[in-house]
Symmetry: C2
Subunit: 243 residues, 2 copies
């Protein structure tokens, strides 16, 4: 894990409200970071480097953290690949031009078992250390592309568990909340919200299968949902696509 | 993470019952592994290498996994140290000769935020890949030494969350159970159970602060609880202590 202090490397004022924000560098998590700032939180951004992620995404997360002035940005290395004989270890082709509207009952091959649970568990550890009572995550139930760990009932159950897991929970000093402000928004509504909050989407990336120079493929589920979101919001997506 | 196949490197028969067993190489988790085997599970053992752990403990986990014939043993590297400014990063002295009977309302400095949540999240990922419907963990509410994430209500909440997190949960193919068979046992009862199941405790270690050669200190909370457990079970602890 590497720590990258940005605007406030030495910490934050005791009067501020620290929050851990899970940041992938994509459209959703970047919008969530803007929401956390709007709501008066001092954001501490956490990004994961794991088997299936491209350095393109890590680079985007670093750009976003820098541009949006987080108090601290950590990149946590986790290894989800070397599990014996599983989809996690396989070189799975990212599906292209899939019908994303009719895919919600199907778990896609890009699904990583327990990924959000692992991410939020690390966020919980950092939140406890910071004395933060908020974790922000960009899960989204409408355009969720079939992932079980993006549903509202999952997020609520994680919150319940988290409040039983920590010293703060036991001592009753504060209650942790998992904020999922995009939960019930369409991609178009997310884009509109981000524009209202002044988000610069040109530094983000969402593609599951980018070219080495970072150019998005335009055909994976994430690209399709993102492009449609911009179109429906009547806006232009400022990033580069392969075609 | 390194994979170390033991008795059945290529997998397990489709008719067996795979279970992920969290294995530290200590008295509790070794007993839990024996319980999983007694109950007919094919154990897949998972050990974590993190900042505060000694290689002595990893070595013990490897010995136990080997001796007890798990299907596979993985050692997962996670970094819990480099969080900015926290008890996680500090070189904290392990408390010695503490009154463990009157320490349960106090969170000890050896507490690692969200540790069991992180461990069980990785176990959940592996369980989903294996199609396992069981995770075994050696938490213990009686001799729990003040850790919030060892309590029964915490374990139950994790199980509820886990069943909402996974593809298997969503598809309703099976329900995952978190087995905590030591939950309501005293250390003496754990030792007695292990002896009934033929556990060789000479290859385990429990000490928070072992000497480089692996000799247990005899004075930390873990040593005190372990030694008293053996004494109350009328048994001799076969490992070496510093005095």
């Amino acid at each position: 894990m590497t720590g990258e202090p940005n605007t406030s490397p030495a910490g934050f004022p005791a009067t501020s409200k620290p929050a851990v924000v899970l940041l992938s560098g994509g459209l959703d998590s970047t919008t969530v970071l803007a929401v956390a700032k709007r709501d008066g939180y001092t954001p501490f951004a956490m990004t994961f480097r794991y088997g299936q992620r491209h350095s393109v995404e890590i680079d985007a997360a670093r750009r976003v953290a820098q541009a949006m002035g987080v108090a601290k940005h950590v990149v946590v290395d986790i290894d989800l690949r070397q599990w014996g004989g599983s989809a996690l270890t396989a070189d799975v082709d990212v599906p292209k031009d899939r019908d994303v509207d009719h895919a919600v009952d199907e778990i896609p091959v890009t699904y990583v078992p327990a990924r959000n649970t692992i991410f939020m568990s690390f966020a919980l550890a950092w939140a406890e250390v910071l004395g933060a009572d908020a974790i922000f995550i960009g899960v989204n139930a409408l355009d969720y592309s079939g992932y079980p760990d993006c549903r509202p009932e999952y997020v609520a159950a994680f919150e319940t568990m988290a409040n039983l897991a920590t010293a703060a929970g036991v001592q009753g000093t504060h209650r942790l909340r998992i904020h999922a402000p995009l939960q019930h928004l369409t991609k178009a509504q997310i884009v509109a919200l981000g524009h209202d909050l002044g988000v610069d989407y040109s530094i983000t990336t969402s593609c599951y299968d980018p070219a080495p120079d970072g150019t998005a493929c335009g055909h994976c589920d994430a690209c399709q949902l993102r492009l449609r979101g911009f179109a429906e919001a009547g806006a232009r997506d400022p990033i580069a696509y392969a075609d």
